[in-house]
């Protein structure tokens, strides 16, 4: 919602999509319930115009936050899913050199019509803007998601420093300066596999997404599946938390723990079965362990304990 007094955008985390609603890419939209600290951090990032770096366990909802913010504030969302081979320039723009070469050769051999020649003379035909480039040129303030930045090479965050600082970049091939009309709200997620360079960290705000507590987990489940019984929700959450605590004690802080998204998948299956059957199963062995436990050791250890 836009704060009428100052024209500032303010995220509250309360506006949830209705069931069955879909976004621009025809993906189903699910409710997202952020913790109050996260809401604070998001609003700080919006106000100070700095990127927000999000870390947390896999499956805790780092990527979904950007979707939720864009939905609530009604802003366009540009996603940039970073790969290990990504270069920083790909997110800004890409220049179609091969196309230009092909067109030049066709023109040289006289196989092009006049209107095509007019087209190829314009440099902008070959420039394709990446997510960040499009966000800079958008007329309204937009939301940019840079997902899993630690997958890329170590130089990748360093190459983005100037763009993050000044919200502008130069298209080298054409010599064109692209300056942002309004600086976008940038969310950066990291899985903490590699260290990020200090100069990059300095420019970002940081928030660590903790695992939600019992109450919040129940609320999350109820918002996504509103017609399920509260008793089932409660017992599922309790059993899940117990399992998670056991895993944490056994594996220590670095082992893989079962996350929110796995829990939601598991609950999705649980609710399709008759309730009393599931409730009795929850007390003993975990039903449908394949959704939660992803390694053979985990299966052996935790299934045998259920008796």
């Amino acid at each position: 919602m836009v704060d009428a007094l100052s024209g500032q955008l303010r995220y509250t985390g309360t506006k949830q999509p209705k069931p069955g609603e879909r976004d621009a890419n025809d993906q189903p939209l699910l409710p997202y319930l952020p913790s109050p600290e996260l809401v604070e951090a998001v609003n700080l990032a919006i106000m100070l115009e700095r990127p927000l770096l999000l870390k947390g366990e896999p499956g805790c909802g780092k990527t979904r936050l950007a979707h939720s913010v864009a939905y609530e504030l009604g802003l366009p969302l540009y996603c940039w899913y970073v790969k290990s081979t990504s270069q920083a320039r790909d997110g800004l723009y890409s220049y179609d050199t091969l196309g230009r070469l092909r067109d030049a050769q066709l023109a040289a051999s006289g196989m092009l019509k006049d209107k095509d020649i007019a087209r190829i003379n314009k440099p902008s035909t070959y420039i394709r803007l990446g997510p960040l480039g499009r966000a800079f040129l958008s007329k309204v303030r937009s939301v940019v998601l840079i997902d899993e930045i630690d997958k890329a090479d170590i130089d990748f965050p360093n190459d983005l420093l100037l763009e993050l600082d000044e919200s502008q970049f130069v298209i080298e091939e054409v010599g064109l300066l692209v300056k942002a009309v309004s600086s976008p709200i940038i969310f950066i997620t990291s899985n903490d596999e590699k260290d990020l360079p200090d100069a990059f960290l300095r420019r970002c705000l940081f928030h660590y997404l903790d695992f939600p507590d019992q109450e919040r987990l129940e609320k999350i489940v109820l918002s996504i599946y509103p017609s399920t019984s509260k008793l089932l929700v409660k017992s599922a959450v309790t059993r899940f938390k117990k399992l998670r605590k056991e895993m944490q004690e056994d594996k220590g802080p670095l082992g893989k723990r079962i996350s929110t998204s796995e829990f939601l998948d598991w609950f999705d299956i649980l609710r399709r079965y008759p309730e009393d059957e599931i409730l009795s199963q929850l007390d003993g062995k975990i039903p449908f362990p394949g959704v939660l436990l992803k390694s053979w050791e985990d299966h052996c250890r935790y299934l045998s304990q259920g008796q």
């Binding site: 770096l53 050199t97 050769q105 260290d195 970002c204």
Partner: protein, 461 residues
């Protein structure tokens, strides 16, 4: 209460965090002030702490450091504030008294002395522990209980002796008995309370032990790269008095971050492998030369070909530097890809065997390694004290090391030596001679970077 009303010690917190190693600059402080000036600062210390951590903290370890320093600063601030208020109150009282006294000078002086006495007693009283307070009260009451019948009987006795005009005794017998009984009960109750009051002391000690554990937990962190003040606790009995900060020293000379940055510099990009990438400039050159429509020219991908071999001395003289050794290996394994890194161990000096593990169980002959081209085209970093830890001069050691270095230098020219013992201790030992044969640096930040630069092929002054 808004933050503008409070004179918060934000700058002190910032300075503390900066000196404990967090990379904060003046921009970060200005950022904090900017966000406080908006409506975001909450109205309590918790939200201020959250704000600081969102702006300044970038990892879990830093979060712990921030929390520790924040608590300290807020605690000190609150104490100062209350002390300030207390002293303000006292001076106000004095002023009030001195202003209001209408009688003459002596009364004012007397009132002043009385106030000073009161302040002295209150200070002494407040600094005493509550347990001691109870003890003092109970002992006073006990003494009074004993004194009353004694004085009464004494008075009775004296009255019998001195035939004075009938002055009734001050107290009747029954009143004395009642008073004695009351005082007795009260004192017994207090004594019993003092002896069996674990609640008071545990409350103090749990708070203090919490604080101690918090500090101690951070002290475990200090073996890591963050500079942290070393705290010395002195306590009498169960009471932890305020910690005295003795010194701010970093425990190990090169931090983890610095090491990782050093390892990252060791790169040598070479174009090799299958030709899959489009090479634009060579395509254009090709077309220029031939003038025909041609297929685009492809080139290979960039690959990091820098391979590193770390040879570590695991003899007993290197035991004090075990922390450094571990840190070196860990950061190297973290920053350098597995196939580009080899770590081997040797005992005292590299002759005959190199071991794959610290316990020296899996040995490989150096001749075999040389035959397998183990050292060829690789960068070699040797981490050893070279005899300077014991401070002796051993010509056999020199000869063996020289032989090894000669053999290795035939395979590769990028070799450097890191010595954890400081350079002023090298004089007169084996190290001095070895240092002339091979670039040797002591293990501090500058030395480490110099060693890395040698391995990159750069010239070091």
């Amino acid at each position: 209460m808004h933050y503008e009303d409070l004179d918060l010690p934000l700058l002190e917190l910032f300075n503390r965090l900066q000196s404990s190693g967090m990379p904060l600059g003046i921009d970060e402080y200005i950022l904090l002030l900017q966000s406080l000036q908006s409506t975001y600062g909450g109205t309590d210390y918790e939200s201020l702490k959250r704000l600081c951590s969102t702006l300044w903290v970038k990892s879990k370890e830093e979060q712990r450091i921030l929390e520790y320093h924040f608590e300290e600063v807020v605690l000190n601030y609150r104490e100062d504030l209350s002390e300030h208020k207390e002293s303000l109150r006292q001076t106000n009282k004095e002023n009030l008294l001195s202003r209001n006294s209408k009688s003459g000078f002596p009364y004012r002086v007397f009132a002043g002395y009385l106030l000073k006495l009161e302040r002295f007693i209150s200070i002494v009283w407040n600094t005493l522990q509550s347990r001691k307070k109870i003890f003092i009260i109970s002992s006073i009451v006990l003494i009074l209980t004993l004194l009353i019948p004694v004085t009464y009987f004494l008075l009775q006795g004296t009255e019998d002796l001195t035939p004075s005009n009938s002055q009734d005794p001050q107290f009747t017998t029954s009143e004395v008995v009642v008073a004695t009984i009351i005082f007795g009960i009260v004192s017994i109750f207090l004594v019993v309370n003092t002896l069996s009051s674990p609640r008071e002391s545990t409350k103090d000690s749990t708070l203090a032990s919490e604080r101690y554990h918090r500090l101690y937990g951070l002290a475990n962190l200090s073996s890591d790269e963050i500079q942290l003040a070393y705290l010395v606790h002195s306590f009498e009995g169960n009471h932890f008095s305020k910690a005295r900060i003795t010194s701010t020293i970093e425990y190990l000379p090169v931090t983890r971050r610095q090491m990782k940055q050093g390892w990252r510099c060791l790169r040598q990009f070479v174009y090799e492998g299958p030709k899959t990438e489009l090479d634009i400039s060579s395509t254009i050159r090709h077309i220029n030369r031939s003038g025909l429509i041609v297929l685009p020219v492809l080139g290979s991908k960039k690959v990091n070909r820098a391979e590193l071999v770390i040879l570590i001395d695991c003899s007993n003289s290197m035991n004090p530097f075990y922390g450094l050794t571990c840190r070196l290996c860990e950061t190297a394994a973290h920053s350098i890809r597995l196939k580009n890194l080899e770590i081997r161990y040797f005992y005292n000096h590299p002759i005959d065997h190199l071991y794959k593990d610290e316990a020296q169980t899996d040995a490989e002959l150096i001749e075999d390694l040389l035959g397998k081209d183990f050292f060829r085209k690789r960068r070699i970093l040797i981490f050893s004290d070279a005899g300077s830890a014991r401070g002796r001069f051993n010509s056999v050691r020199i000869k063996c090391t020289e032989d090894f270095l000669r053999q290795v230098k035939r395979e590769t020219r990028l070799v450097s030596w890191l010595n954890p013992v400081p350079s002023y201790q090298w004089k007169g030992t084996t190290t001095e001679i070895i240092a002339k044969k091979i670039p040797m640096f002591e293990m501090d930040r500058k030395g480490f970077m110099n060693a890395i630069n040698i391995l990159r092929g750069k010239h070091v002054v």
